[in-house]
């Protein structure tokens, strides 16, 4: 390479570097809008009817879910929430089938997905929902199924541990240990029904788990609320536009 070539290459590099310049950046808060999945403009009222619920007998997922969704809809949607007794869809299905009432009322009829499948037919029963809709002047009906089950898992987990060496310097080390975890799984399916026709408008399933170290005594109800907290934005986004807050980096 001649000196002249080197000079040209050098000036090219400088020009490119100057063009690149120093980068300035700005962190900015953003609110990304997530549009509602369902057009609810034909409805002024919403009825959280009740759920096919089962799993753990430590809580009543039907009553808790209906109560929680009603209070969330009251504060976070424009629809008027109808106050009504929470339906027990399990009893309703049993009644339709002519099944005998359960001897031990503490034991839930639905314990697994398989049990649930036998009851799910009611969610597609147009006549049933249309009749219920007529009782409440054709609202949007929210129903579905909730399975709240106990889970336990074992495995290796890693955590960072600090140690101090002889010179007094702190060191971080990854320590792996075998642990037994216990907790709960929540699998709801929210179904939205047109109270005027009894037809399903939209349905969405979720699944969340919360695991705790063995010995950590977490009440079932607080675990239920912890799990529902994660699902609520997804549920509310069906009926109203939600905003996801975050930050992005603007660059000059």
């Amino acid at each position: 390479m001649t000196a002249r070539t080197a000079a040209v290459a050098g000036s090219l590099f400088l020009l490119v570097s100057a063009g690149a310049g120093c980068v300035s950046f700005y962190e900015i808060p953003v609110e990304t809008p997530i549009h509602a999945k369902l057009d609810v403009t034909p409805f002024q009222r919403v009825l959280v009817a009740g759920f096919l619920a089962g799993g753990s007998k430590n809580i009543d997922p039907n009553a808790e879910t209906a109560r929680l969704l009603r209070s969330q809809l009251r504060s976070k949607s424009d629809l008027k929430v109808i106050d009504a007794d929470v339906l027990s869809l399990v009893e309703e299905v049993d009644k339709q089938r002519g099944a005998a009432p359960v001897a031990d009322s503490d034991e839930p009829r639905i314990k697994t997905d398989k049990d649930l499948a036998e009851y799910e037919k009611i969610l597609n029963d147009k006549e049933f929902w249309k009749k219920l809709g007529e009782e409440y002047q054709s609202p949007l009906i929210v129903t579905g199924s909730i399975l709240f089950t106990e889970v336990s898992k074992s495995g290796n987990v890693s955590r960072m541990a600090t140690t101090t060496d002889p010179t007094g310097r702190q060191e971080y080390k990854e320590v792996r240990s075998f642990v037994n975890m216990k907790g709960y799984a929540l699998s709801p399916k929210f179904v939205f029904i047109d109270g005027r026709t009894g037809e399903q408008l939209y349905a969405e399933s979720f699944h969340e788990e919360a695991l705790y170290q063995e010995g950590q005594n977490t009440p079932a109800l607080s675990s239920y609320f912890e799990l529902m907290d994660k699902l609520l934005p997804g549920f509310l986004n069906t009926l109203s536009t939600q905003k996801i807050r975050g930050t992005r980096i603007l660059i000059k």
């Binding site: 001649t2 002249r4 070539t5 040209v8 000036s11 090219l12 020009l15 100057a18 063009g19 980068v23 950046f25 700005y26 900015i28 953003v30 609110e31 990304t32 809008p33 997530i34 549009h35 999945k37 349905a203 969405e204 996801i244 975050g246 992005r248 980096i249 603007l250 660059i251 000059k252």
Partner: protein, 117 residues
């Protein structure tokens, strides 16, 4: 012969680089103004500015990145995806752009999964 070739190359660089620099300066002015108004919450105006910037200089990755953010904030997800993808293609090793794109994709993919249900 080699000297002549070098002279021609230098002349071409001499002519094109200032033009490119001018374009980049104009685009930078738009980007800068866009950032100022975005910081005041005027996202529509900001997005327009960044759109102008990428029209002036389509190789300006920062402008595409900001345009992606603007469209995302306005809920125009497909346009945001295109803008981010152009930014990533222009500067694949820029971590700021990559992080913005990854955060956006999380929301975009979730929204699309729901629509397909």
């Amino acid at each position: 012969m080699r000297t002549r070739l070098l002279l021609v190359t230098a002349l071409l660089i001499g002519l094109t680089v200032p033009a490119l620099a001018d374009r980049r300066d104009d685009a930078k002015a738009q980007v800068s103004f866009g950032i100022d108004v975005a910081q005041k919450g005027l996202w529509k105006e900001a997005t327009q500015r960044w759109l102008m910037a990428v029209k002036i200089d389509p190789t300006y990755a920062a402008a595409w990145n900001n345009l992606g953010i603007g469209y995302e904030q306005l809920g125009q997800f497909n346009e945001a995806r295109d803008a981010y993808e152009k930014a990533v293609a222009l500067e694949p090793n820029n971590n700021f752009i990559r992080n913005n794109y990854d955060l956006f994709r999380e929301i975009y993919d979730r929204q699309n999964r729901r629509r397909s249900r």
